[in-house]
Point group: none
Chain length 242, copies 2
Amino acid sequence: MTQRSQPLYQEIADELLDEIRSGKLPVGTMMPTEMELCERFGVSRHTIREAIRQLGELGLLTRQAGLGTIVKATEARGTYPQSNESLDALLRYPPETALEVRSSEPVTATLELAKTLGSKVGTEWIKISGVRSVQGQDKPICWTDVYVIPEYARVAEEIGKEPVPVYRVVESLFGEQVTEVKLDLFADGVPESMAEAVQVAAGTPALVVVRRYTGHKKRVFEVSVSVHPQDRFTYSAELRRD
Amino acid sequence: MTQRSQPLYQEIADELLDEIRSGKLPVGTMMPTEMELCERFGVSRHTIREAIRQLGELGLLTRQAGLGTIVKATEARGTYPQSNESLDALLRYPPETALEVRSSEPVTATLELAKTLGSKVGTEWIKISGVRSVQGQDKPICWTDVYVIPEYARVAEEIGKEPVPVYRVVESLFGEQVTEVKLDLFADGVPESMAEAVQVAAGTPALVVVRRYTGHKKRVFEVSVSVHPQDRFTYSAELRRD
DNA sequence: TAGTGGTCTAGACCACTTC
DNA sequence: AAGTGGTCTAGACCACTAA
C-alpha cells in the first residue's frame, strides 16, 4: 500500500480532472459510469461518488440519473496549486487594473479596524493605500486599503509594478497560498479622506468590497478594503443549475 | 413506511434548519453529534452526514474532526459562483424575510428600465413594489421592485402571505423552475420616492442588488431590484480552495 | 483514553432513461 | 429489460481533540 497524504477520492478527482483538462475526456462527452470508475480505480462506489462530487462542485460536470455524467467545462485547478482562475473570476477585476500606491505604513488594529479585518484588537498590520485604475480611463475605479501581516511588508515595494491583484504578489513573493477568500459587499459614503483621490465629493454613495484572504493554517494574511464610488464598478455573479 | 416526496436527508436538513432559525440551536453552540442525530432520527450515519452537508454548504456550520460541529449563522451567506450544489442549496433554503407589497401595476419597458432588466424596449412587465423586512426588526432591510412577466401577474396577490422570496411563489404557482440566477451589485443613492418607506433621507448611500431569474427555455421570468440603505444589509460570498 | 468528524467498504433498493 | 445515477444501511478504521 502506498502512503497517502490526501484522501483517495481527492487523488481520483485530481486524475479525472487531468483527463478533462488534457482533452482525454472532452467537453460535451460522457464521463465513464460510476461502476466503470469503481473497477478502474479499485475502490468502492462511495469513493467514486465523492470524487465526482468534487468535480461537480467546480461546475465541470452535470449528472442525471438514468442518463449519465456529462463533461461541461475544463476550467479547473490543477494538482499543483497555481491556477487561480476561479479566484480571479470571483474577484471580477479586469485584468489590466493597476494599483498606484500612495502610502505604506504599519498600523495597530483599533476596535473598529479589528472588526473590519476580522482580527484581534492590537494586532499589527502593514497598511498600503492607493487608487486602482483601468488603463485608459481617467478616473480611478476605487480607493483601496490593503492590510498585510508584517512579515509581508515587502509587497509594498513590489505591487504597482504589475497590473495584478496584491494577493498574487504575495503568493509569488512568499509562497503563500490562498485557500479561501471571503467577500463582504455593502454601501457606504465616500470618506472625506478619499474624496479627492477618487475625484468625487465626500459622502457620495460607494460600493465597499472587503476581501479577506486566508492562507496556510487558516491564517488571514491579507485583507483589502476597496471603496468604489457610484457608477465606477458593478459586482456580478452568475449561478447555474443545469 | 410513510410516503416520501423528498429524500430523507432533505427532511432532516429541513428540521435541523428550523431548529437553528428558531433558536433551539443557537449560534455559537455545538450541534448534536452525528451519532446522536442517527439515534434521534433513526437513520444511518451517511444520511445524517448528507443532511449536515446541506447546511454546511449554506455556511451555517463549521465542522472539525475531534471537536464537533458548531452553529455559525442562521441565514445563508451570499453565494459564490463556482458551485452548482450551493445554488441548489440556496434555492432550497432561501432567507426568511417578508415582503409587504405597496403597489402592483403593469409597466412597459423604457430604455432605462430595459437596460436594468436586460429586456427589450417596449416589453410588458408587471411591477410589484414593496418593502422587505426581517421578522422582529423595525426598519425594513430594503425597498424592492419585482418585475415579472404578465402571465405571472397573479403572484402579486400571493406574495406577502409567506416569508419567502418571490421566485418561490412563482415556482409553486406556475411550476416555473429557476435554472440560472444573475446578480449585479452596485452603489447608488436612495431615491426620493423610496426614502420614506425605508426610513432614511433621500440620497443616503444604498446597496442595489439586481437579480435576474432564468427559467425554462432560457426565459427571464423575473427580475428584482432591491435597494438596501446603508447599514441594513451586507452581501457575503465565499470561495474555498481546499 | 474516549469521543469527534473524515474516510472507506460492500452491500441494497429506487426512479428514471434508453433500447 | 438493462443500465444509470440517487439514496440508504451497517459496518469499519483513521487522525485529531480534549480531559
